[in-house]
Amino acid sequence: MIKLEHVYKSFGKLEVLKDINLEVKPGEVVCVIGPSGSGKSTMLRCLNHLERITSGTIYIEGEIADQRENNKDVLNISQEKVQELCTELGMVFQRFNLFPHLTAYENIAIAPKNVRKQSDAEIKVIADELLEMVGLEDKRDEYPSRLSGGQQQRVAIARALAMKPKIMLFDEPTSALDPELVGEVLEVMKKLANDGMTMIVVTHEMGFAKEVGTRVIFMDEGRIIEEGDPREIFDNPKEIRTKAFLNKIL
């Protein structure tokens, strides 16, 4: 479904991703953990072209989404193709990034309307269903500034789902939230996972990873150091660096 082959990414001299190889199969919920600066966000952002990789190949749904060598395209990918690929991937950001000038409903409706050119009637069905799924039917016409962090993040999840993505990317979706609001967002994510959504989740929520994660990946200094079953990694890590990291956050 998603495959990264020998992916490298540098910002100038700083090498942030070093030879990342990863394959995610349909229905998997992959949780990514690792210290700050280890390249977790960058890895997600490379998938939907928010960052361009320095070299390597990325496949999405069997198609080459990006293939580069020394910061040059090996395969030329048109802007339209990139946009199309982006709609296969839904992304949820740490800081929500809702559109503040649009209501909850309009936030959800804007991409189906402008990118997919769906009719208002079609959109209404999708948006109402999603608002119900994230438990915010009564906040339909509120602007983001009037919503709590947890509610905003749930709208952001609904906004991403409105494009019917095949894979959802979450970049620390609960780490900007007050502790008492984390649960409601995780609840929605669990529901999604149980419905069979393929997900890559950067998170330090061990409970979530253990409950719905199918695999945990530990990254450090731009490399995947260890991966495996969540219980295995958390309870019985093999690598010293993984142990040290887990000791610090637990």
Binding site: Q79, C86, T87, M91, H101, V115, Y143, M163
Partner: protein, 219 residues
């Protein structure tokens, strides 16, 4: 007090002031938007041309720009093309003020667009929107509200700066009362002019305050 011809002269001067101001702000906004897009774009040529434009119009006195379109243009065209091209009537003022305000407004627009959080463009792209869609649906509508106060300021500056047209022989509000003072030796005329200027700038201030409130619904 004022005689009837004097009242008419003051009204006429005020109308000229308003004409220049309104033409310059409308033309300046339209041209300013185009220049702002050029400044933001990644196209090197567009970027260079618009940079040069702003550099010139902000880096030289407005009065000199006014002289260029009034005095220099006919001399220049006579020298180069053999015929003197003269902008008719109030056009030298219209052109100079429009081009000048476009330079200032474009910088206001550019700053407004750049002040929008990077995450907004990223979220738009992640949803599959094109650059143009993200700009027109997400970025510009948000920048819009932040632009209202500085554009109001620019309009007030512009209105006051129209008094420079006296130096190219036009009878705007200030020149009109100036002449009355010279002719009669009485001092009151300046107070009338001050009252009219204050009235106009206050209206602008109140109106822009109202517009800003109206567009702040979501904050």
């Amino acid at each position: 007090m004022l005689t009837q011809p004097q009242i008419f002269a003051i009204i006429e001067g005020t109308i000229k002031t308003l004409q220049i101001t309104s033409i310059a702000i409308v033309a300046g906004i339209l041209l300013g938007m185009i220049i702002a897009i050029g400044r933001i774009s990644k196209n090197k040529v567009l970027n260079g041309i618009t940079w040069l434009y702003i550099w010139f119009f902000r880096g030289t006195p407005l009065l000199m720009q006014l002289f260029m379109f009034y005095y220099m243009l006919p001399l220049f065209t006579l020298d180069i093309f053999g015929t003197a091209v003269r902008l008719p009537g109030m056009f030298p003022a219209f052109v100079a003020y429009s081009l000048n305000s476009a330079a200032y407004l474009s910088e206001i627009f550019r700053a407004g667009i750049l002040s929008i959080d990077k995450g907004q463009m990223e979220a738009s792209k992640a949803l599959g929107m094109s650059y143009t869609q993200a700009m027109t649906k997400i970025i510009i509508p948000q920048a819009y509200r932040r632009l209202i106060p500085p554009v109001g300021n620019e309009l007030i500056v512009l209105l006051k700066d129209t008094s420079l047209v006296a130096s190219i022989g036009m009878f705007d509000l200030l020149r009109t009362v100036n002449q009355m003072t010279n002719a009669t030796g009485r001092w009151q005329y300046y107070l009338y002019a001050a009252a009219i200027y204050l009235f106009m700038t206050s209206i602008i201030q109140v109106a822009f305050g109202k517009i800003e409130k109206k567009y702040s619904a979501y904050e």
